[in-house]
Assembly symmetry: C2
Homo-oligomer: 225 residues x 2
């Protein structure tokens, strides 16, 4: 199909498709003339994935490219590919996760000593990973997100250590079993990685929403007659 | 203490403190002269909470005000207060959670029929809440976040229904038990609400990070020797 039909069928404006092509998010079509190319179903599918990551999940174009590039760089082993996907932590997501966010002033209070430093919180994450028996790469961005959370809570005067996160880690382990089960039956590594991206990124807001609903229900059960 | 000492002890610049005072995020100090006021420990604590929500969690100033106002509006019953906290879904969080994000073009593909509409996804969330036996207010923003996720997945060609979310909802119910347990022992309703805000909002990135770590560990366990 031509770009006009691709635009019609994907509901993405032609100008936006051309932008994605220039940025390398969308692979080029098969050239049919000097200024024309032929697109197929894989382009529609890829456009939907881009729209999900950028338009719905709110990633920046460069973060989405990072995710899509990782998926496209096929590895020989499934774990290498999935590890890549699960380890993806685009810049915009890192900011949401408590990374530094300087807006003309220091993001982290430095005036008062809070009896801790990053080293002790890093150690705390090691202790947590070790207690769970998890096999995790050294520099996973998820480690930093947890370190940052522990640091923030402590700086706010909330006594909170890795032992408090342990029961949450056990529930996360059960969640991961559900996640991986949903990838079974996809034999093609690329299909599997694409599904992993969708279910990892797109389910995140739903999982947080489920926690809110469950909190409300649990509060109602405890505090009302 | 004067505003200069409040600034020093909280490590928040004086200009920022004055901005928070103007915006109503920080309650005024006790006036001691025409242009001077006296601040106390409650202001330091409140400043840390503001910094956590705005600086670390990345909420907008107006979203943070929404959260803090809800906490300050004391209810007679604990559930009323906690329900308010758990139901808070500031505009910026809603965007992260898959709300519409129009950047000069339609956020949601409308070209191709995907065999569904919002009504059926709304019904799906009702079915999920009902299957869990949850008591949830009709207009919880968390409902919309789940509806949107189901819609998005389906529009991307992923067959995904509320039954697929059910095991996740069961894990969310266990998470909520942990969450509510951590509020026990706080008798003062305001203290309880403040702790609920901290542990609801600030734990979110850590919970997502735990899921990523657990996914990596589960993938390693399944796919490597």
């Amino acid at each position: 199909m031509r770009i006009s039909e691709l635009s019609r069928r994907s509901a993405v404006p032609t100008a936006t498709i051309k932008f994605y092509l220039r940025e390398g998010l969308l692979p080029p079509g098969r050239p049919t003339a000097a200024t024309q190319a032929e697109y197929d179903e894989t382009h529609i599918r890829r456009l939907r994935l881009i729209r999900a990551l950028v338009g719905v999940r709110g990633l920046s174009v460069s973060a989405a490219k990072e995710v899509l590039d990782a998926v496209s760089s096929v590895k020989t082993d499934t774990h290498g590919l999935l590890g890549l996907v699960f380890g993806i932590w685009p810049a915009s997501a890192a900011r949401e996760s408590g990374g530094p966010r300087v807006v003309g002033e220091p993001a982290r209070p430095t005036g008062e000593a809070d009896g801790t430093d990053d080293t002790s919180d890093t150690y705390a994450v090691d202790a947590l990973v070790s207690a769970m028996g998890w096999q995790i790469t050294e520099h996973s961005p998820a480690r930093q997100a947890i370190t940052q959370t522990l640091h923030t809570l402590r700086s706010l005067g909330v006594e909170y250590g890795w032992e408090d996160l342990l029961p949450y880690a056990e529930l996360a382990a059960r969640t991961a079993v559900l996640d991986l089960d949903q990838l079974e039956g996809q034999d093609d590594p690329l299909d599997k990685a694409e599904r992993a991206v969708l279910l990892t990124f797109l389910l995140e807001p739903a999982l947080l929403a489920l926690r809110r609903l469950a909190q409300e229900a649990e509060s109602a059960a405890r505090h009302t007659d």
